[in-house]
Amino acid sequence: MKNFLNMLSYSKYVLFHPFDGFYEIKIRDKGNALIATIFIVILGIIDVLTVQYAGFMVNYTDPTRINSLTTFFYSIFPYLLFVIANYSTTTLFDGKGRMREIYIVIGYSLIPVIMTRIIALILSHYITGDEIMLYNILLGAGMAWFAILAFSGLVTIHEYGFFKNIVTLLFTALAIAIIMFLALLFYSLIQQFISFVVVLYREIVFRVGGWFS
């Protein structure tokens, strides 16, 4: 337990010293996948809260169409997809990082996003139309911080140079596209299969019913 708390407080160090921090995580095992999971889940919850409770000026959600579960999954899905896609490309590019480490990098890097979203959620109740710009800058700053952390984290754990990391990120994007394509293909295939089974079942019921009547 104490170890866990130590690791949790270590994430604060990672925020401001990404290269050192992620290096320590990789070499001295100062990170924890559970903590990363906690951050990702918190992000999902914050997004659900934002959809429902954001201030009037920035909230365009139709209250009759809120679905917390889909919001939650849509908000964390891109990060998980990135982890898988990045792992599958970097293994081909001599990346030294393991999937667990990529996961930890992404999870820890989300801390600024979570913090800015919480602040923005509170502030959104006290802003007028002119200050929406500031609100968006705040959110953008969080995302930029996330990008810097994740980038330096990936550089560290894969033991890459700057340009090689950019190349692998481009290929990661390609991998994401391929995964999405396959997923959609699979989805429609399953759908067709299910409808086939349903039709078959109805046909059988119809025929069998015919014999006995």
């Binding site: 009037f56 000026m57 139709d62 009759t64 006290y126 007028t128 139309g129 002119d130």
Partner: protein
């Protein structure tokens, strides 16, 4: 025993009779659009007051269809295109006169080659401010180049006491007319300076403006169209010769017109490529329609489930900037206020009472709404309900700058229809004007109006900050003190 039995029997029978509670409004499925552009149930703003069967009015004969309708100062003019006549009634639909043949000032029939001259399939009619009646004699082809004409009738009381309309002037195709489309006037209006704004059939050049003497003045206002990016790309690449062979994109013609008190022209079109389905043209022909509503005034909002768009064929504006547009695809009348916010959706198509089969034109009659039905020849008169009266009254008062009167009516309107977002905004505006910014912001929030909410909340926030100045100042001073203190400490340590 008998008593008990009969009691049971009677109670059972009584219980079996369905208890019907009916409001005295006829059952409707009225709706309006909310902030998320979803149709939400709405209290009806108008109900059918009566149906006028023009053909059965005493004095009317050979009546075939009701097309154009125009309400003048104290008369109503109904055009029967197929029957080539114009029926004049008063505001209560009491028959006054039937215009068909041409009569001169001395009540003598005008003859041409020995034949009485009559109207030929007129389509539009308008009463000028001096009471003269301008009729677009669309079916006539005897003008220069097979063009049509405009006939100016003037009312007169004969020495024998009979009332009649004589032909004051006939306007043929002007000699200096420039357009390529033939001069076939369909709808027209006359403004306060007696300029005639004419919509000619298929007029791509815009609205024709004639001086009062019938000479051509200019073309006025054209429809803006959405440009297809692919077409635009190929046209950019094409050479001059290729361009000449390509189809030209014309501005779609207008199909109906009205003029408001200040001389602004309202015109509709039913072309799918136009951006603005109804335009408000200022004197230089620029569209200045207000777009404060959730969408442009386009009528029904197409959704995935129902893709059909509204097809505007008529427009009528009153002195308070409220305009009605008639949709021919579903027979609905859309009532917009000056800002372009949708107030009511009235009527529809169908064989039920209060609906039209083939609507042709719409017009204001005071606060009432007149709709003509081409198929039956009826004129439907809609009158505001209690809720409608409140909304119309509030809109008028707001237009005239009476915030308080408007706000009170909006507040009552909320009680009739809690879905009506405009009412919340209207009441909020009154609170805002009276300086109650907190409440105003709350009502703007209920009315889903972010612009006004922003204004009200800003004021409220500033007020709150002023009142609780110390609350905000104290932490600031503390913070500044802390920073200074730590700086001092830090420097002292280093020596």
């Amino acid at each position: 025993m008998k008593k008990v039995l009969s009691f049971i029997l009677v109670t059972t029978i009584l219980l079996l009779i369905p208890l019907q509670v009916r409001a005295n409004e006829y059952r409707t499925r009225d709706y309006n659009y909310n902030f998320w552009l979803k149709p939400v149930p709405s209290t009806p703003g108008y109900r059918l007051e009566k149906i006028v069967n023009v053909a059965s009015l005493p004095g009317v004969f050979n009546y075939q269809e009701s097309t154009d309708i125009h309400v003048g100062k104290d008369k109503i003019y109904i055009v029967d295109t197929a029957g080539s006549q114009v029926i004049v009634t008063d505001h209560d639909f009491n028959f006054i006169y039937r215009i068909r043949t041409f009569i001169d000032e001395n009540k003598v029939f005008i003859r041409e080659n020995g034949v009485q001259v009559t109207l030929t399939n007129p389509e539009g009619v308008f009463e000028a401010p001096n009471g003269d009646l301008y009729v677009a004699d669309t079916g006539y082809r005897g003008g220069p180049d097979g063009s049509s004409r405009i006939i100016v009738f003037s009312p007169k009381t004969h020495t024998d006491g009979s009332f009649f309309y004589y032909v004051k002037n006939i306007i043929y195709k002007p000699e200096n007319y420039m357009g390529k489309t033939n001069f076939l006037p369909s709808k027209l209006v006359v403004d306060n300076a007696y300029r005639i704004y004419v919509i000619v059939q298929g007029g791509n050049e815009g609205i024709v403006v004639l001086n009062n003497d019938g000479s051509f003045s200019r073309f006025f206002g054209t429809n803006e169209i959405r440009i297809n990016p692919i077409d635009y790309f190929w046209k950019k690449l094409a050479s001059k010769e290729q361009k000449q062979k390509m189809n030209l994109t014309f501005a779609p013609p207008f199909n109906n017109i009205d003029v408001d008190r200040n001389g602004f022209i309202y015109a509709t079109n039913s072309d799918s490529s136009t951006i603005y389905k109804v335009v408000r043209l200022n004197p230089s022909g620029v569209n200045v329609i207000r777009q404060e509503g959730y969408t442009l005034p386009i009528g029904d909002i197409a959704t995935a489930r129902d893709e059909s768009r509204s097809n505007f064929i008529a427009v009528s504006v009153n002195d308070y900037g409220m305009y009605l547009v008639l949709d021919s695809s579903k027979g609905k009348i859309f009532l917009y206020n000056f800002d372009g916010e949708l107030l009511f959706i009235i009527s529809g198509m169908g064989n039920i009472e209060g609906r039209t089969i083939l609507p042709a034109d719409v017009s204001w009659l005071g606060d009432k709404i007149l709709v003509t039905d081409k198929t039956t020849g009826y004129v439907l008169v809609f009158t505001p309900t209690e809720f409608g009266k409140l909304v119309i009254g509030a809109t008028k008062d707001y237009f005239a700058g009476k915030w308080d009167a408007a706000g009170e009516q909006w507040k009552k309107a909320i009680e009739y229809n809690a879905n009506y977002e405009l009412a919340y905004v209207g009441y909020g505006k009154m609170l805002y004007m009276n300086g109650d910014y907190k409440e105003a912001a709350e009502y703007f929030k209920l009315g889903n109006n972010k612009n006004y909410y922003s204004l009200a909340y800003k004021k409220y926030r500033a007020e709150y900050m002023q009142e609780h100045f110390l609350l905000f100042l104290t932490p600031m001073i503390l913070l500044a003190g802390l920073v200074i203190y730590s700086e001092v400490q830090y420097n002292r340590k280093r020596g």
